[in-house]
């Protein structure tokens, strides 16, 4: 029961990562690609982290995993912001 829940969470997280990668490869514009990547980072990682937390017995490690997820979200938000800002300033809309 616990295992099925964890596997379900991890696989749905993987689905988000897959769609983020497809978006990175197929979308036409820099800004749309950033948008796709943000989904992969935030929701995908959250679901994978949820699955791992379900499987992990020690509470200390669960707290660490949540902190890691928050830090990755912050890093992805900051880097998307910086990339988009730089692209806007250079008025570049392509790669």
């Amino acid at each position: 029961m616990i295992d099925t829940l964890a596997i379900l969470a991890i696989f749905s997280g993987l689905f988000f990562f897959l769609s983020g990668s497809i978006g990175l490869l197929r979308l036409p514009d820099l800004f749309t690609r950033l948008h796709a990547l943000a989904k992969a980072d935030n929701v995908g990682l959250a679901l994978v982290a949820l699955g791992v937390i379900i499987l992990e017995p020690a509470v200390v490690n669960d707290i660490k995993i949540v902190i890691i997820w928050l830090l990755v979200m912050a890093a992805s938000a900051i880097s998307s912001h910086l990339v988009a800002r730089h692209a806007l300033r250079e008025n570049r809309n392509d790669d």
Binding site: L71, A74, I78, H81, L82, R85, R89
Partner: protein, 334 residues
């Protein structure tokens, strides 16, 4: 079933790694090559974690992908936009390709043959048998700082030499001219204390869990680089005296401890088992500070005050100007 899944995972990881390496080496755009190289560093960290090398995974993620990536990105900032193609003739390209392929096949045969021979005596047996008296319980730290401490001392010397070269060669690179994002500055205010605490944790925990001086030092360097990126106008002038002390303190402590142990035990860097843990912690702390300042300075570059060359290239330029001016004057007159 589990075995099959693990094999599929291994094969996909290896294929992805090879594909990333191939694209890094054969792409024509500089920025793409550097970005793919950073991605390959992160993938390599996953490979180290898969092969049960967690200390290496930490080190590769921080040093191989983080510091190396920052160095390369800073270097291609003003790079000319020429595509990176090889200008060799077709004949030489063919020779290089075939020779490399032959070498690869030969090495594969050698490795396959070597892995099929019987296992010799592995040093790991001796490492694990002597682990209780080494002062730490993480075997990699024991090897790095107790059994092969001399190698680590020389490694610190190599890092110092590289940093001295970087510091004396070039003028300070011009900083980012645009305005920095307040978002970045806000997040840096949160991240840098976190990085410092994590670095201290990695240093302490290296004795009994994956971690150690190099990972901690590189994380501190990453924090300093982040500070430099977020607040470029507030770049502090190097305090020369403190700089020299910080760069050298790792090697200095190491050699001091070694000489002290030589006076007690008749052997350079032979730790007495009762003090081994404490001595290793002292050496690691000094090494962390040294590595952090060395890697930060390797990124920042520039010449600290008082370290200029003899001014020879400035004088040479002056002489050339004087000579060319006198030639044109004389040419105009005569």
């Amino acid at each position: 079933m589990i075995e099959l899944l693990w094999s599929i995972f291994d094969i996909m990881l290896v294929l992805l790694l090879l594909a990333l390496a191939w694209t890094t080496c054969s792409t024509q755009d500089v920025k793409r090559a550097v970005t793919l190289f950073i991605a390959m560093g992160l993938l390599l960290a996953i490979v180290w974690a898969r092969l049960k090398a967690p200390d290496l995974a930490l080190a590769e993620a921080v040093i191989g992908a983080g510091i190396s990536g920052a160095l390369l990105l800073s270097a291609i900032k003003d790079y000319p936009v020429t595509p990176m193609v090889s200008h060799r003739s077709r004949l030489i390209e063919g020779i290089i390709n075939s020779l490399t392929l032959a070498l690869t096949i030969l090495m594969s045969w050698a490795v396959w043959h070597g892995l099929n021979m019987s296992d010799g005596i592995r040093l790991s047996e001796q490492v694990f048998s002597q682990l209780p008296v080494s002062g730490v319980s993480n075997p990699v730290t024991a090897v790095l700082l107790n059994y092969r401490a001399y190698d680590t001392l020389l490694e610190l010397a190599v890092v110092l030499t590289a940093v001295l070269t970087v510091l004396t060669l070039n003028e300070k690179r011009s900083d980012y001219q645009g305005s920095t994002s307040p978002l970045l500055q806000g997040m840096t205010r949160w991240l840098v204390p976190l990085l410092v605490v994590t670095s201290g944790y990695l240093l302490w925990v290296g004795a009994h869990a994956p971690g150690g001086a190099f990972q901690a030092g590189a994380m501190l360097a990453a924090a300093m680089i982040l500070l430099q990126l977020a607040y470029p106008s507030r770049r502090a002038e190097f305090n020369n005296y403190l700089l020299k002390i910080l760069l050298v303190i790792g090697i200095f402590t190491f050699v001091l401890v070694g000489l002290w142990m030589m006076s007690r035990n008749d052997d350079f860097l032979a730790f007495t088992p009762a003090w081994a843990g404490t001595l290793i912690l002292i050496i690691e702390t000094a090494a962390t500070i040294s590595i952090a300042s060395a890697l930060t300075l390797a990124y920042l570059g520039g010449r600290p005050g008082g370290w200029e060359g003899r001014g020879s290239e400035g004088k040479a330029r002056e002489d050339t100007h004087r000579t060319s001016r006198s030639i044109t004057e004389n040419g105009g007159a005569g």
